[in-house]
């Protein structure tokens, strides 16, 4: 039974050794914090001063002032209009672009440019796109709609293309074997496979468009954002609070609706 007597070793290696990389990354992190705080001129003084202002600001924000509800409602309706139109047009366009970008349906010389276009739509923040559209089509809802169409294509077309690339080709071949045209192949073999995911993406994108449509007004592209920004500039903080509460309520309401819609499909 010699093999069963365990060797009594007194120096176990530490089961949780300190790695050099961990220490190095902590040093790097602290170094970066010191550098960036210095480079940007952040100071504790300013932070504590600001906390005093925060008290005053909150004091002036409450109670929220809903007396100018007509202005609020006008902005809200415009935001909703922008979000609805931009989502519908953007999602329809995304369907086509996604089909062009799907590598299992299209030759490489179509899918690569389509993918590049999608990437270009994604690379800029909606506010920057909104600025460019405000300069080219003037202030108002149209600039907002065009902006959100671009934002929708950048996000949805990419997800749609990925969904289309993941489908099973058996159904496609079955429909093709009946002699169906290309449009019918898409309608009866591709769409049914990806439809429920499309609905999911579409409701998410509508949610995102709704949030963005309340923001792009800051640069003049219509909607509630414009009302919010001018309320800020006039220091009407109680009206600001009312607008913020409306936006949050709107988004919570849509979240409730979208779970209902997703249950239907």
């Amino acid at each position: 039974m010699a093999g069963l007597t365990p060797k009594q070793s007194t120096n176990h290696p530490n089961p949780f050794p300190q790695s050099k990389w961990r220490i190095a990354s902590w040093i790097l992190l602290v170094g970066y914090l010191v550098y960036s705080v210095n480079a940007m001129g952040l100071s504790w003084q300013r932070f504590t001063d600001g906390l005093g202002h925060a008290g005053t600001l909150l004091d002036r924000m409450f109670p929220p002032n809903f007396s100018r509800w007509e202005l609020l409602l006008g902005g809200l309706v415009e935001s909703l209009q922008i979000a609805v139109i931009a989502s519908v047009v953007g999602i329809l366009l995304s369907l086509f672009i996604a089909l062009l970008a799907a590598r299992n349906f299209m030759p490489i010389w179509i899918s690569v440019p389509a993918r590049a276009f999608i990437a270009l739509c994604r690379s800029f923040h909606p506010v920057i796109i909104a600025i460019l559209f405000v300069k080219s089509v003037g202030f108002g809802a149209l600039a907002g709609i065009l902006t959100l169409i671009i934002a929708t294509i950048g996000f949805i077309a990419k997800l749609f293309a990925e969904a289309i690339e993941e489908i099973s080709f058996k159904q496609v071949e079955a429909i093709q074997a009946t002699g169906a045209s290309f449009i019918k192949v898409i309608l009866f073999s591709v769409i049914p496979q990806v439809f429920s995911r499309f609905i999911g993406f579409a409701t998410y994108q509508f949610d995102s468009n709704l949030r963005n449509s309340t923001m792009i007004g800051i640069v003049g592209a219509g909607g509630l954002g414009g009302t919010l920004f001018s309320a800020f500039q006039r220091f009407d903080y109680d009206f600001v609070a009312a607008i913020l509460i409306t936006i949050i309520a709107l988004i919570l309401f849509w979240e409730f609706l979208s779970t209902l819609v997703r249950r239907v499909f």
């Binding site: 949780f16 992190l29 970066y32 914090l33 960036s36 705080v37 480079a39 940007m40 001129g41 952040l42 300013r46 932070f47 001063d49 600001g50 906390l51 202002h53 925060a54 600001l57 309706v77 415009e78 909703l80 209009q81 922008i82 609805v84 139109i85 519908v88 690379s123 800029f124 923040h125 506010v127 920057i128 600025i131 460019l132 300069k135 080219s136 089509v137 003037g138 108002g140 809802a141 149209l142 709609i145 065009l146 949030r211 963005n212 309340t214 923001m215 800051i218 640069v219 919010l228 920004f229 800020f232 903080y237 913020l244 936006i247 949050i248 988004i251 919570l252 819609v261 239907v264 499909f265």
Partner: protein
């Protein structure tokens, strides 16, 4: 042989009705929005011409403007994004721990954490920036805090989901040895959520680089301030320089994130 008179249907009557209702409401919303939105058609048809005019004014790009102000502003933007992402961890890690049902098992705590996470997400980063500019005055501090507060909801929610998905075996084993809370956290939970944690943080950093580029439009520091100044002066060639710089930084951030993720996984 008796023939079956059952007629096969893909959806039940109730399903059909509810789907039809969703379609109907959807089309109604679209029609109402299209009819009531305020769009001046002349502006729309004029758009391509105006867009070309804008591009003509932007060309040639003012490269000499880059070393003057754009470079420093771009570095500041990157610092805002990075520091904001680091600051958000201070708030989002505790909230994620409270929100994860296998760490803190109290429904009241969950509602408490969820309230903060949801309100952080519903307010757009530009709106957070407006609030913080009102509190701390224009500058980098407002930008860092806007980025940090907008990210709390995102990081906190995803981290809580990652925490809930872990295998509890290690944690129970550690608890059975009588390990203190800190040791259970560090050696039980942390190793399992580490990959998810880093990928969430990197993903948010990538988004924050895009967002911090526009915060300057409301006075919260970074490249947006330079962009806003050149636009107000109608210096479109300088605007083009800033836009190109933003584009380059966004692409660079995306490449960095992809590379780090490949190394880690």
């Amino acid at each position: 042989m008796q023939q079956s008179d059952q007629h096969w249907q893909r959806f039940s009557v109730k399903q059909k009705l509810s789907r039809f209702t969703v379609y109907l409401l959807f089309v109604m919303a679209l029609v109402v929005s299209m009819r009531s939105v305020e769009i001046i058609p002349e502006f729309f048809f004029d758009a391509p011409e105006q867009m070309m005019d804008l591009l003509n004014r932007m060309w040639p790009i003012d490269i000499a403007f880059y070393p003057l102000t754009v470079h420093a502003a771009i570095i500041e933007t990157l610092n805002i994004a990075t520091l904001g992402t680091l600051v958000t961890l201070i708030f989002s890690i505790p909230l994620a721990l409270i929100n994860a049902s296998n760490v803190v098992a109290s429904p009241w705590a969950h509602w408490f954490a969820r309230f903060f996470l949801v309100s952080s997400r519903s307010v757009n980063s530009l709106v957070w920036a407006l609030l913080f500019v009102a509190i701390f005055g224009p500058g980098v501090l407002a930008g860092v805090l806007a980025i940090a507060f907008r990210s709390i909801g995102f990081v906190g929610k995803l981290l809580a989901e990652a925490l809930e998905e872990i295998d509890m075996g290690t944690v129970e084993a550690l608890r059975a040895t009588g390990a203190p809370w800190g040791a259970v956290m560090l050696k039980g939970y942390w190793p399992q959520v580490k990959p998810a944690f880093f990928s969430i943080v990197l993903f948010r950093w990538d988004i924050n680089v895009r967002e911090s580029a526009v915060l300057g439009l409301v006075g919260a520091g970074g490249i947006g301030v330079v962009l806003n100044d050149s636009m107000n002066l109608f210096q479109w060639q300088q605007v083009a320089t800033s836009l190109l710089a933003i584009f380059a930084v966004v692409i660079m951030a995306e490449i960095v994130v992809v590379k780090i993720r490949q190394k880690m996984i």
